[in-house]
Each structure stands twice: as structure tokens, then as C-alpha cells.
Symmetry: C2
Subunit: 324 residues, 2 copies
């Protein structure tokens, strides 16, 4: 055992919770006797689709931005993201009245770009490659002196996402296991550290799409193994696992299971029909592990993280649209 | 002022609440700062799409069935309905372990028919006309001796639906106005009587589609004026106002406003996007009166009844499907 970089601690999570509580929603936990009967388990859906901005990302971004010293804050904050994290950083910056600089790939959906613009952020467009994003972000940081808020490889962000599990374990006593989607790992690592601190014997299972299974492969290999070409309908789960999240996942996560895109779509539609809530593909991925029988949870009390509900309602995976 | 038939009373509503409480969901009230900013009002969405069976109908049907004497119950219950009321009666009958006889038009969606069959009800199909329905129901009643549970023209059903407002006014203090969709009038009349009993100065506004505006015309004429051919996307709002509901609506409802189908679809989609909940067209109709500016509620605290969330997810009004 050599020296480790500092990791996520329960103290950081408690600080995060106090810091962000006035600015985020305490999201509800939904249950359904239909889904319980089907699964043979008791399912508790932690609904981050009802979070501000429609996804859990508000937690981590708000904690990171509010953690900055005033001198740092004055120069603004920056990130690169095409999705929910960009809007979450823009919203947190607006809370503090400081500039937000967002690097977005040119092919970002117009609606997402407009949402970030409405929040008052400055947008820099770049080529839709990882290298171009990093380069554009570096230029923005050099020009502005803004503080980088990484979408997941950041302890402040991880601590914010961890508050999801703190709430869930206050709302539901005696969970046996928590199922959580994994992409960059900010949410899964945060939830794992928080849940273990509160309930040392709880099981934590990450769920990811078969077409973006870098977390499963990384856990097996003991080092981060990126996916060359992530290919999944779950657009929120295409990022590569970060170093800091991976360190916590290795320590605290019991297993990573994978689900097919078909299982994700089936799960998503079933949640719409039965729970009457809008869930995006990434948000249905944890439940897909139950509905597609990729986890053994019969007779157990299962926390299921519904991570978000932002998607283009004009384009649903189960409807083939007529040409324009 | 001649003699009136007995009407809906606060005592009946209180009895209904105690009777059905163990068998229905206390549904949540959702709020949204986005929708509040857009409307200039404070909107409180009473979410009956989260009710058992996905619609408020569980309240009235359960109250009516549980009100029957054991001798009546033994012969079963019957109704005619193509929609949520049929499933609600079937579910209530199953609670008591008695037969349910449901008359349905032949053109009822297969999914709705299957749902009622799964609940163990006996289904009688009939031609899709009002006369054929009534005739088939009469035959069923004569053959079986079952008790008729009318979808809305029944004080026990109205008292059950009224409990929606009792809950809402406990959940949200100081509402200025309640907006509620109107079809046969069971829900609107129940809500009006309950809300007036609790808050005599509250305003109650019914909302109906332009293509099924019999309530607006009836209120203006002082007698029930049926629509010859109701034509609206809101399939739950095509029934004709009942006598008993109309009597209460005349006494207690301040106004009926109408909204176009286009406004209903826009409102429905907006609720999906912002509140992240599945709402059927009928369920979005009350909110459509706000979003299409058919009511003046600026600066007020507004209860908005979201009556249900059951619809065919393969066929959304804003997506033109490719031919099979």
C-alpha cells in the first residue's frame, strides 16, 4: 500500500450537503406496487429527474462553485460539457453572480445550447473531439483565469453528487443495495462513499451500457481502460471514468453490471408508463439492471438512482418518425 | 325555488375520505419556479397522474363500491366506460372480492381492455354508441343484479372525487383559485363542494376543450346542453355533463373556460418537459387555461388539477409517425 492521493471523505460530503441545501431540491423517492410485484423486490426510486435542471448534476456543480474563495470566484468558472453539467455550472455561477465559460462541441443539440445561453453563460464552440475540447478549455482558462469545474474528476463535484445517497438513506431506512448508473464516475463514487459511511454493509452496484463499459473493464483490469468508441443511446453515460472516482469505486463498489441499449429503452418506457415520470435513457439504466434481470435483488430493499429526465421529446426511441 | 334532489354535502365527502384513505394514494403537489415565472402566478399541481391506476377515478369508484351494503356487494358491480373509470371499478371490486361487469365499446384501445381484464372483470363489448352502451349496461344489470356505478352522475362517486380538493387544501394553505378539467362533472362538482366548504371565498374554475364545451354552454343556458359530436384530443373529456354534477356546478363554480386542442397539446408537452411527469391530454387541460392565458391568475396562488397520466406512448400528438 503506497501513498494515495487524498480521497473523498464523509466530512467533505457533510460540508457539501450543508453548502448546497438551500440551492437544490430534496428530491422525492417514488415506489410502485406494480414494479415491486414484477421484480419481487422493494424498489425505491430516488428521482433526480426532479432535481433543479432535471438532473443530479446540480449537486456537484453547485458544491464546487460555492467552494471557491471569493478571489477565485471573481474570475469566473469554466467547464467543457455538452450536457447537464454545463447548465448546472452556469446556474451555480449565476447564483454567485460570476461569469461562466462553457466549452461545447459544435454538434451540441440546439436546445441544450440555448438553455446554457439563457442562464447567462459564455459559450465557446469547438470540434466534437476530446482533444479539441481540452484545448479549447485550456485556452479559455488561460485567457480568463477562471476556475475549472470538471464534470466528475473533482472531489468537490463528487462530494456534491454524494448528497443524493445521504438523502436517500434518510428517506428510506434499511436499504440492502443501491443501483447507480456510471459514466465518469462522479455520482457512483460519491454515492458509494456516502452510503458506506452511513451503512457499512450496504451493497453498491454500478450499472453501465454494454456499449460504454469502461467501468466494468476498468474494475476488472485494476486500471482505467477507456472505451475507444462509446456507442449507447444513454448519452449521459459516454464519458470515460475519472481517476479520482475510480479510486473510490475500487474501494467501495461491489460490482459493475452492464445492460444493453434495448434493455435501457424498455426500462425507460416502463418507468414512463408505470411511474408516470419522464426519465432519460441514462436515468433508466440503473432500473434496467433490475428489469433485465442483470442483478439478483429478489426479496431485498433496493435503492434505484434515477439520474435525470432531460431528453428531446421529438425523438423517442420507440417511435419511428415520418420523414420531414 | 322548488324542491331540489339531495345534493353533495360536506358530510358525504368526509365519510368518503375516511372510507377510501387506506385504498388510494395521497398524491403529491408539485411546484416549479420556471412555470411560476412564466405565468406570474404560484402554481400548485395536484398530481392525480400518480393516483392508483394513473387517474383520479380511483377515488370515486372506490367510494361508491365500498359504500354498498354486503347484500348488494354480493351481486357485484357494473359500469360502462372505455377509460379510467372502468379500471377503477374493477380494482375496487377486486378489493372486496366481488364480480365487476364492464360494458365497453368495441373500439376501446386494446391496452385499456387488457388492463381491465387483468383486474379480473367480466367485459361485455357493445357498439360504440351511447344508446348501445346504455342498452348493454341495462341487460347486464338485469341478468346479474349487480349495482350500477355511474362514472360521474352519482353522489358517492362525486364525494370520492371531492377528496382531491380536501387533500390539496391541506397540502397548500391559502389558495385563491382552483382550476379543474370538466367532462361529466364528477371531479369538478366534487372539488367545488369540498373547496367551498373549506374556503368559502375560493374561486373554482372549470376548464374544457373547445370541441367538447357542453359545460360552458350548459352553465350559460341554465340547463344541460349536450355536444352533438364532441371532438377533442382530450379523450377523457368527451362525456356529457351529468344532472347531479351540474346542480353543484351551477351553485359553486365561478366560470367555465375553454381551451383549444392546440393549447392542450402545448400545455401537455410543456408539463412533460418542465415538471418531468407524464400527463395525458385531459390532465393538461386545466394548466392549458393558464399557459394559453384563458384565465387571469397573475399574482395568485393557483391549484391546478392534473387529472391523469394514462395514454398510448406510441402515439404522441407532436410526433408524426412513419407508416408501418
Amino acid at each position: 500500500m503506497g501513498s494515495h492521493p487524498p480521497g473523498l471523505t464523509w466530512a467533505l460530503i457533510q460540508e457539501a450537503r450543508a453548502r448546497i441545501a438551500p440551492h437544490i431540491n430534496l428530491t422525492p423517492v417514488l415506489t410502485s406496487r406494480t414494479l415491486d410485484e414484477e421484480s419481487g423486490a422493494r424498489l425505491y426510486f430516488k428521482c433526480e429527474n426532479f432535481q433543479r435542471g432535471g438532473a443530479f448534476k446540480a449537486r456537484g456543480a453547485t458544491n464546487a462553485v460555492l467552494s471557491l474563495a471569493d478571489t477565485e470566484l471573481g474570475r469566473g468558472v469554466a467547464t467543457h460539457s455538452s450536457g447537464n453539467h454545463a447548465a448546472a455550472v452556469a446556474r451555480a455561477a449565476r447564483l454567485k453572480g460570476v461569469p461562466a465559460y462553457i466549452v461545447m462541441p459544435q454538434n451540441t443539440a440546439a436546445a441544450k445550447r440555448a438553455a446554457v445561453e439563457r442562464l447567462g453563460a459564455s459559450i465557446t464552440l469547438c470540434e466534437p473531439t476530446h482533444a479539441a475540447r481540452e484545448r479549447a478549455a485550456r485556452e479559455v482558462l488561460e485567457t480568463t483565469g477562471a476556475s475549472m469545474i470538471h464534470p466528475y474528476d473533482d472531489l468537490r463535484v463528487m462530494a456534491g453528487q454524494a448528497t443524493t445517497a445521504v438523502e436517500l438513506l434518510e428517506q428510506v431506512a434499511e436499504l440492502d443495495v443501491i443501483l447507480c448508473p456510471v459514466s465518469g464516475g462522479g455520482l457512483l463514487s460519491g454515492i458509494a462513499v456516502a452510503a458506506r459511511a452511513l451503512k457499512p454493509r450496504i451493497r453498491i452496484i454500478g450499472v453501465e451500457p454494454e456499449g460504454a463499459d469502461d467501468a466494468a473493464r476498468s474494475l476488472a483490469a485494476g486500471r482505467i481502460v477507456p472505451c475507444e468508441r462509446p456507442d449507447t443511446i444513454a448519452d449521459g453515460l459516454r464519458a470515460t471514468l475519472g481517476e479520482r472516482p475510480f479510486a473510490e469505486i475500487r474501494r467501495h463498489v461491489d460490482a459493475i453490471v452492464t445492460v444493453s441499449d434495448a434493455a435501457i429503452v424498455t426500462a425507460m418506457r416502463h418507468l414512463w408508463e408505470v411511474l408516470k415520470i419522464i426519465v432519460e435513457p441514462s436515468g433508466a439504466t440503473a432500473y434496467a439492471a433490475v428489469s433485465a434481470a442483470r442483478v439478483a435483488v429478489r426479496g431485498e430493499r433496493v435503492g434505484v438512482i434515477v439520474s435525470g429526465g432531460n431528453l428531446d421529446l421529438d425523438s423517442l426511441p420507440w417511435i419511428r418518425r415520418a420523414p420531414e
